[in-house]
Subunit: 343 residues, 2 copies
Amino acid sequence: MKGCPYGSHRVIEPAGFLPQAALRIDNSLDLYDNEILVDVTTLNVDSASFTQIREACEDDVTKISSMIMDIVRERGKLQNPVTGSGGMFIGKVSKIGKDLLRRDLEIGDTIASLVSLSLTPLNIERIVQVHLEKDQIDIEGKAVLFESGIYARLPSDIPPKMALAVLDVAGAPAQVDKLVKKGMNVAILGGGGKSGLLCCYAAMKKCRDSGKVVVVEYSVENAERIRKLGLAHEVIIADATKPLEVYEKITEFTQGDLCDVVINNVNVPGTEMGSILCAKDNGIVYFFSMATSFTRAALGAEGVGKDITMMIGNGYTKGHAEFALGILRESSEIRRLFQKLYI
Amino acid sequence: MKGCPYGSHRVIEPAGFLPQAALRIDNSLDLYDNEILVDVTTLNVDSASFTQIREACEDDVTKISSMIMDIVRERGKLQNPVTGSGGMFIGKVSKIGKDLLRRDLEIGDTIASLVSLSLTPLNIERIVQVHLEKDQIDIEGKAVLFESGIYARLPSDIPPKMALAVLDVAGAPAQVDKLVKKGMNVAILGGGGKSGLLCCYAAMKKCRDSGKVVVVEYSVENAERIRKLGLAHEVIIADATKPLEVYEKITEFTQGDLCDVVINNVNVPGTEMGSILCAKDNGIVYFFSMATSFTRAALGAEGVGKDITMMIGNGYTKGHAEFALGILRESSEIRRLFQKLYI
Ligand SMILES: NC(=O)c1ccc[n+]([C@@H]2O[C@H](COP(=O)([O-])OP(=O)(O)OC[C@H]3O[C@@H](n4cnc5c(N)ncnc54)[C@H](OP(=O)(O)O)[C@@H]3O)[C@@H](O)[C@H]2O)c1
Ligand SMILES: NC(=O)c1ccc[n+]([C@@H]2O[C@H](COP(=O)([O-])OP(=O)(O)OC[C@H]3O[C@@H](n4cnc5c(N)ncnc54)[C@H](OP(=O)(O)O)[C@@H]3O)[C@@H](O)[C@H]2O)c1
């Protein structure tokens, strides 16, 4: 019994939709030949979704647990009905459909899903523990991965929860590695956060000796951290929602040249214009932030007559998981920092 | 007296914003040295904005006129407070600031603005006529272009209102010309509309003899039009909001290869996934449609593990106006069609 590679065979309603857009999907454990069954141990709930749930439940763990159970019972997946977003999971492979046996994967392997929980068939038997501060929930349950569903085997040398934190934003540093070339000017907005730090590392790797990496960061604390770790040539403390402030400081630092590549990792809305102004003509702005508005970016660039390429941050690019985990292996300083912040 | 190239010197509130994001800008006629003053004759109101205004005023031309006057009086620009969007204008240059005298522009030249009215200082002395069916308003008034504000001189061989219709979507065909190379498979969703037709033409120019251009269009009528004009190798009649339907038909037509470049020109929401599935790995999806959702695109590609480049349709790219007008010069068939549809 072979299902659709994208999982449409499990969509209950509305028909013709794919699992992410569907209201309800079939989370039964009867496995199709091109699916993988996983015993899930931890859910890493998307930060926007978890914040909404915590607020709705007033941080009451019992209420949170039953809200989570209700969502999954109703939808067959953990997709927050308000934010639309999901998260990721960690678990052990328990069954592999016969069409996927050739894959480099074995029963018992611990994996992290790299596709969103908002499209993943999920069964929760029991909620074991809710970790309020880490957006994580330990559970007993099962999830299904479709043929197109990407995942990463967890390495033995990195603690699972540190790996989960890094894998959540793995698309960003891998894209930086693709886009940035030696000698370029690179601006990283929101460079002090989780994805930002990894992006800085990736950019400095290419441009430390020939090029300029500049971070725009809001908090003095985060800025200091980047300076100390030598993760940028310059750290500008500014509010990315104020385009002219950012533009003037970047102009000064680059002596009017502006930037070949601008990476936006800020987690608040209204930073499109600041990003656009920092880019050179023919430069690239890579919007990784989920708070990006499509229309603000499109009209914004036109409004100032900027001939730039604006990219929507695809969470996936080939080899992204290995690249991101590789940073933790290469840099003991970043590893220590992630240990402190995200474990 | 030199202003900010981006017009921030005219922002009244909130301070630190650029004109587009501002609530109110200074529309006084005292010209800065790096500004251009234009006698405006026609406003081409953005379709989303005009639809909203028409509904609010129940198509009563007097009410529409006073609503337009009110908006401009309050904001100093014609930015619809509900949709946030603007439009473009046509007018004659009446004054050029001394810093911009070197430009290839003379007093008396007729130009179309290529930046949005949502950021353009505007004064309306009198509304002459409201053209309900064409989203156009003839006025007597004045507008200011900033140093960064792009414009096109209207050609003498193309009627102004036809030029305006084409210039409104000029970014799209020019980008197609940049992205598409000989021998590629190209899909154009919503290829039967205004921007779509121009994109088809640009794609066929590259790929007529070596490559495949396929259009996905909703209406039988529009599909027939493209077939007759020979603007694609194949026209698929399908609903772009149904990703699997589109995917299956594109798979069949390309014999499983899928497309190197996918252009989205559909004017309704929910077509991100259909576009993503049609692209090859390492392919490009160019979202020109303003109905695109950033998050749906970002999470959608990740959700199906597609390593593709997704671009936000920048309304501007170098030479876009000349390129789009050039299509009307090259193709008498497209010119006739635009004459019929948009004049
Ligand atoms: N495209 C994808 O597939 C994908 C996947 C995962 C995450 N994301 C998105 O990526 C973004 C970043 O995620 P993250 O986990 O790295 O978040 P994060 O750790 O919270 O980092 C955000 C950073 O932005 C800084 N910042 C906030 N407001 C700012 C402002 N006004 N000016 C300058 N800097 C400001 C923050 O500084 P403070 O700490 O001082 O506030 C922080 O350093 C989020 O929007 C998230 O949704 C996208
Ligand atoms: N990025 C920018 O700077 C910029 C500038 C201008 C415009 N735009 C955007 O570009 C888009 C297209 O503009 P336009 O002037 O070309 O619009 P348009 O002439 O109305 O064309 C839209 C086309 O999409 C087709 N369509 C509608 N629903 C469809 C569906 N479900 N499946 C397949 N095709 C469908 C329409 O067919 P029917 O006629 O049968 O409905 C029509 O042929 C708009 O979203 C507009 O906002 C962007």
